[in-house]
């Protein structure tokens, strides 16, 4: 329940407000009915009092018109609130014929409330010509006259009921305002918060430069979201920096290796080659006697220098293969041949093929080297992990881009497990091969994906069809640095 605090709060507030509202309504009803019975008893009292007074003073009152003893009786009752103002009510003494015998001050206008000579058993409500509402009771007097007592409901109760009505309305208004407030709180705070949380859940930190989380009426949420947005941007920039750093590192590494290979080739290797040639020349001038010590020394020297030469050459090859200068097609053919030779007899023979369908003659050396390294790494993964016996590399044009793919018939691997994985993670989790490939892909400004037969739901690869590495990259521009 703690998780839905807002909902709980809303429910509690709504319940209490509704309860408050109903209690108020009930109180109002009860009050109104109490007032009603009080007024009824009041008007009855008024009428009884007058009759009693009339009886006490002799009850004649037959021909009384504004004179004693009627006036005296009115005066006796004048302390009564109903008689203090003509609007509040009054008492009429009416003859059987409906003539006014006497009246409290200003009470003549109440005559229309008298509806005949029948006395009332209980007070009734009546409305006069002006629409004012009264409690009325008619009693017969001893002298054959009637007394009509009326108390204005409007005048005496209106202020009270008015206050009550205002109270009820304000209670209803408060309830409504609280409900609307709760809804708005939910709509503007709870919903955006949940949405922000969902978005944050899906943010690929370091992959997206700008994350738009929230725009709306709450400044606090905007502040929060702008802080998070800034964090995302920073994380993106850091990631970019890291990528650039790795790319620079790879580039620098290749450059150093190339430099070293050239130095070795132009220096040590050429000297060794020249030395071998000199030794061979010397052997020609040496005595032809096969057993002479000079001949033996020269043979040994030739062998030693030739061994050194071979070693230097293999260092050069390993550092930076010079044949990448022959262009992509030749370089890939060369590496295919070398890989096939390397695996020959080690596992089973591996058939490695290359198909270049795109114009790749003008590829800068850097691109060739990157693709060669990718091919090398992918092929070695295919053989070592997938047990592949057939590997095919292809370069094709795809729209404005080039697609380089390395496909094998091995057992494939669970590419799904790596889908969306950061390749830096691959490196740290021991998948150096894929991380290496990824670095070269970055050098090519390309994107890579792996389709494997072990993937579920992939139409492109079916079980037994191994694994395919695909790299999409823009063709190198003619002016690109070599």
């Amino acid at each position: 329940m703690k998780k839905h605090l807002l909902l709980l709060l809303m429910a509690v507030v709504t319940l209490f407000t509704a309860g408050n509202f109903f209690v108020s309504l009930h109180a109002f009803r009860a009050q109104e009915s109490a007032m009603d019975s009080m007024m009824r008893s009041y008007v009855l009292d008024l009428a009884e009092n007058f009759s009693t007074t009339a009886a006490f003073t002799g009850g004649r009152g037959q021909a009384q018109r504004h004179g004693t003893p009627g006036m005296m009786r009115f005066r006796m009752l004048s302390a009564d609130p109903a008689l203090q103002s003509p609007d509040a009510g009054g008492i009429l003494v009416v003859s059987k014929e409906g003539r006014i015998v006497s009246a409290s001050p200003g009470a003549e206008r109440l005559l229309p409330l008298w509806k005949g000579s029948a006395p009332d058993a209980a007070p009734r409500e009546a409305v006069d010509a002006k629409g004012e509402s009264y409690y009325v009771v008619v009693r017969s007097l001893d002298g054959g006259n009637f007394i009509l007592a009326a108390v204005s409901r409007t005048y005496l109760l209106a202020p009270l009921t008015g206050v009550w009505k205002t109270w009820i309305l304000s209670a209803m208004g408060t309830s409504a305002a609280v409900l609307v407030g709760m809804f708005l709180l939910w709509y503007w705070l709870a919903v955006p918060l949940r949405w922000i949380a969902e978005k944050l859940e899906n943010v690929r930190w370091g992959k997206e430069r700008s994350v738009r989380l929230y725009t709306g009426p709450l400044a606090e949420l905007e502040a929060l979201s702008s802080v998070i947005e800034r964090l995302a941007t920073e994380s993106f920039e850091k990631e970019e920096l890291k990528k650039r750093y790795v790319t620079d590192l790879v580039q620098a590494q290749e450059a150093t290796r190339g430099q070293l290979a050239r130095e070795l080739h132009d220096g040590a290797l050429q000297s060794a080659v020249a030395a071998v040639k000199r030794i061979q020349l010397a052997k020609q001038s040496a005595p032809s006697d096969a057993d002479s010590p000079l001949r033996t020394h020269l043979d040994t020297a030739e062998e030693v220098v030739q061994t050194a030469e071979g070693e230097i050459r293999s260092y050069c090859e390993a550092l930076s293969p010079s044949w990448v200068r022959l262009g992509l097609s030749s370089a890939l053919e060369e590496i295919a041949g070398r890989l096939a030779q390397a695996y020959e007899g080690v596992e089973t023979d591996v058939d490695i093929g290359v198909e270049i369908e795109a114009e790749a003659a003008a590829f800068p050396e850097e691109h060739v080297l990157a693709l060669v390294r990718i091919f090398q790494e992918a092929a070695s993964n295919s053989v070592r992990h997938g047990g592949a016996r057939f590997i095919q590399a292809e370069l094709r044009r795809e729209g404005d881009l080039l697609r380089f793919s390395v496909e094998d018939d091995g057992s494939g691997f669970d590419a799904d497990a790596y889908a969306g994985t950061d390749f830096e993670e691959l490196r740290t989790s021991g998948h150096r091969g894929l991380a290496n490939i990824n670095e070269r892909v970055r050098l090519l400004r390309g994107t890579m994906r792996i389709v494997s037969s072990r993937d579920s739901g992939e139409d492109e690869a079916r079980p037994g069809e191994g694994c395919r590495l695909e790299i999409l990259f823009p063709p190198p521009s003619p002016g690109e640095r070599r």
Binding site: Q284, E333, A336, G337
Partner: protein
Amino acid sequence: MVRILLADDHPLTRSGLAAWIAKEEGMQLVAETEDGESAWSAILELRPDLAMLDIEMPDCSGIDVAARVLKRGLATNVLILTAYSAHQYVMASVRAGAKGFILKSAPLAQLRKAIFQTAAGDFYLDPSVSLARTEGDVEQLSERELEVLVLAGQGLPGHEVARLLSITERTVAAHLTSVYGKLGAKNKTEAILLALKRGVILLDQLHLIDR
């Protein structure tokens, strides 16, 4: 007398070879250059019988020079002399019209053989270019297999070979596989080099000029 031009950017190699050529019977060094461009102008000027070219040179590689010689249709034969045994160097040299390919580490007797053989217009391939797998008789290649091998040897991609021969790419692959088997080769490059070495196909068939 074979008139030889020697182009190598390394002075020690150059002087060693020059000293050897001077001593050898039947050959004469007419020019020594240290880069591709000057080798090309020397070839145009002196028209030597044989140009011994290093691959890695400033300006212009030995392979590029060979291609120019081939394009001009000069009588000069080219022998590529290199420190590296990469198959693709051999293929590139062959496609550029070089008659021979020899490693700098080759014994002098082999070098002599290579010089005379290529000067005469025959193909020479250094034996240490890791191909000596099957010796003895080679099963005869069919005419179609030869065609496929030659076109593939020119560096044409599979679909292009298929188009030229009006067959499917799958058939091309099947023919090549059969060729590999017959020659004892591991891949296309090896098959081509073995076929060249054994005279199954001729060097001229692999030239790219008319493509």
